[in-house]
């Protein structure tokens, strides 16, 4: 009996050695901010093509993501990090958390987006933080919608604007940067005028948009909010029952919108560099880039990617976004936020 068991085991062992077994899939770990989303099919396609398993981790918003990456520089939590934007870019590059990677897919991306010439951080998507307004409110009250930053400080818009605190919210910071870019050193005077004009400040985009803003489902008291250029498109996509016109719109006056560009990078000391590089290539590829807009409400940087119809129809892009270099942002951001907090007390 024992002998039989022995031979049986030997036989099965030999048999299993002979049958060609598929190689164990390799794992690549990707850490992103909490807003990251993508189609299941898209990721499955990558996994099948590369015999890989993609594990996603989410680590809070862009700021906390970067802080965690800096803290764990020597033993990173993941192989790839996605979600550092141009307001955090310089800090990420200074902390030297990324490894340079010249992805072949960069060829399809315009130079404007490539803010890091050393290719440690590669652009993935962009979107504008803009003033959104409730179309119905302005039609009902026979009031023209605000078009410029200056309009917001006018008496006819008194108490109508809700903004996010730049110390706690990323669109809030983007809007502060837009005012800094537009007014230069006089930005605090502008904010004092906004304060006298009854601007409402809340901690997060969620509160601003769903609790205070009147144009969306929360039906709050303020008809003007700092949100995204793509928000009107989202209002159409997520309307129940379907509607054929967006209830909100963005003000696109010169310098009122701030352009956020999001980057991906391969973390130094990661565990699987070749697969990490393949994943970065994939994120910049047409397939991923075309799936991105409806999942994250951002624009693809890859010029070969086609936009979904609803974006073309309802999402608005300004041709004159506020301009500021990542270096200027990095060296002044904290001082500006501190000064703003002091001024708005």
């Amino acid at each position: 009996m024992k002998r039989f068991t022995f031979y049986f085991l030997l036989f099965t062992l030999l048999l299993s050695a002979c049958t060609p077994k598929p190689a164990e899939p390799q794992t690549v770990t990707v850490i992103t901010h909490d807003s990251f989303a993508i189609g299941e099919e898209t990721i499955k396609a990558f996994e099948a093509e590369n015999n890989a398993k993609v594990v996603f981790l989410q680590g809070g918003d862009a700021g906390s993501l970067l802080n965690q990456a800096v803290l764990t520089k020597d033993a990173p939590l993941a192989d790839v990090l996605f979600g550092v934007d141009n307001t955090f870019l310089s800090r990420a590059l200074e902390a030297d958390i990324f490894e340079a990677y010249e992805s072949p897919a960069l060829a399809d991306i315009p130079a404007d987006f490539k803010l890091d010439p050393s290719n440690r951080a590669l652009p993935v998507d962009y979107g504008d933080v803009c003033i959104n307004y409730d179309k119905k409110y302005f039609a009902d009250n026979n009031l023209p919608a605000p078009q410029t930053l200056g309009d917001l400080a006018m008496p006819e818009y008194r108490g109508l604007l809700v903004v996010e605190n730049p110390a706690t919210s990323s669109p809030g910071l983007a809007f502060l940067l837009a005012t800094r870019a537009y007014y230069g050193d006089g930005y605090l005077d502008y904010w004092k005028r906004l304060k006298e004009n009854g601007v409402v400040i809340v901690d997060s985009w969620e509160t601003a948009y769903y609790t205070n803003f009147s144009g969306s489902s929360g039906r709050g008291p303020q008809p003007i909010v700092v949100s995204y250029g793509t928000s009107p498109a989202a209002e159409v996509i997520f309307a129940s029952p379907p509607i054929d016109d967006a209830p909100t719109a963005s003000s696109l006056g010169p310098g009122t919108c701030f352009r956020q560009i999001e980057f991906v990078g391969i973390l130094k000391n990661g565990q699987n560099k070749p697969l990490a590089q393949k994943f970065v290539d994939f994120m910049l590829s047409q397939k991923f880039q075309e799936d991105m807009p409806l999942n994250m409400f951002v624009y693809p940087v890859n010029q070969t990617a086609k936009l979904p119809d609803v974006f073309v129809k309802y999402a608005q892009v300004t041709d004159q976004p506020a301009a500021m270099s990542p270096d200027e942002i990095a060296s002044n951001r904290d001082a500006w936020i501190e000064a703003w907090t002091e001024a708005m007390k």
């Binding site: 706690t168 948009y209 995204y228 997520f238 509607i243």
Partner: protein, 549 residues
Amino acid sequence: MGLRACLSANIRIFLWLPTLLFLIYFFFYPLTRILNLTFSPATFTNPNNLLITRNSLLFTFYQATLSTLLTFLLGIPSAILFSRFDFRGKSLLRALTAVPFMLPTVVVASSFNALFGNHGWLNVERLTFNVSPFLLILAAHVFYNTTIVIRIVGNALSRLDPKLEQAARSLGADTFRVWKNVTLPLLRPSLLAAALLVFMFDFTSFGVILLLGGSNFSTLEVEIYIRALKLPNLPLAAMLSVIQLLFTLIFSILYTRATNQVTAQTAPRFAAARPPKSLREKTFVLTFYLLLVTFFALPLLSLPLRSLTRLDADRGQRGEVQYGFTTDYYKELFINRRGSLFYVPPIEAAKNSLGYAGITVLLSLTLGYPAAYALAKPTRLEKFLDPLIMLPLGASAVMLGLGFILSFGRALASPWFVPIAHTLIALPFVIRTLQPALASIPERLRQAASTLGASPFRVWQTVDFPILSRATLSAATFAFTVSLGEFGATLLLTRPEYPTIPIAIQRFLAQPGGLNFGQAMAMATLLMVLTTLAILVIEKLRLSDSGEF
């Protein structure tokens, strides 16, 4: 020292060991690592840092004191109402007061808005926003924490031996004197326990302040969050969290001292609640009944109403906003519209939440029971160790989260860390709920049972268990609700495949659009129904239990 004493001293160590090891590995170790890396004495010499510290410390104390007082103002009469009187809809109302404790702040704000907002049910023009943010913060703290007072003080009230009050009354004392000389002194430990927990929650309040306070108010916890993650000044964040920890330690020590002085005279037979008799009692019951319904049920009911209402019908077109009935938001919950990778059906999120809550209950009871036994008859060692249990309540979630990342790295991807983090927060509740009950068991009852030949298990079964079953259920409810409502602030790192209900709500709220908002409201309603049901079940268990003894 005899053999017996030596043996029992050793056993005591073993009683402590699980909790202590758990705290060392999952609390002190990660916290030490992050503080070690970021704390520097030089931070103290920077005048700007000191100014920030002073301001946030003053505000933290100010709002926590006021909030605690207000919470007691509503909580004590409510505790009396629930423990002394029987009336229609009692268990439902009691469950309702516990629900806010578990709801994410964003949802509570939306439901207040759905009720009082511009287009809200009451259509009171901008009521919520004309009230000063500070008053809103206080109201929210009362809304969240009254349940703690009701549970702890109410539990103690119904465990009081009614004979004591009857004796005082028959000796001619009026109601006021009975309260002053009999009831209040006996309630002191539980009053202190409740005050301490409420104060601690208000002291470390985070979401409420951030959400309702705008940019003008910041507690220590909010300041730590901003300095650690937003305006990176980790040394200042470290200094602030050390200060917050020190204060927590001081409160805990004060508390331990106070409670050890008084041992409540309690009985396993519970003072039975009865219908109100006199006119005064009837007025009292009716007044607080209505008050609680208005304060708790109305905002909570506006949630399910809002999740079934369409406000978006004619947006973008002219005309009035129309309210319509719809079940779209619930149907939509089950459709993965964008084929999204992280889409999780609500039933899965509910399962995750319940699973985590179940593990948290098991883990915190397993760890908490032995520790509470040891604490019930404290020796010098325990008096020293006791306050440490409370520390996780006063630790900044952000700093602890960063410590976790430093200490456990890629292992954090395991979903097990979620119930572990929840247990850290639930453990103080569990131990504090079990400890007074354990301390109240007269040793001579156990001795009598042993003398009569009962095995240790039988002693536990016949003496300890009847007294403990109620406290255990209370402790389990606390652990369960802490876990269900925890918002993942403890862990900065999450696996998107295993969202809990609060995380699923946040995901819907993070994108614009009527369907997203409606689904968030539907999920919040689900969370609310789930927790209300859980609490009702526990209440039922409790009642049938007490019938036996």
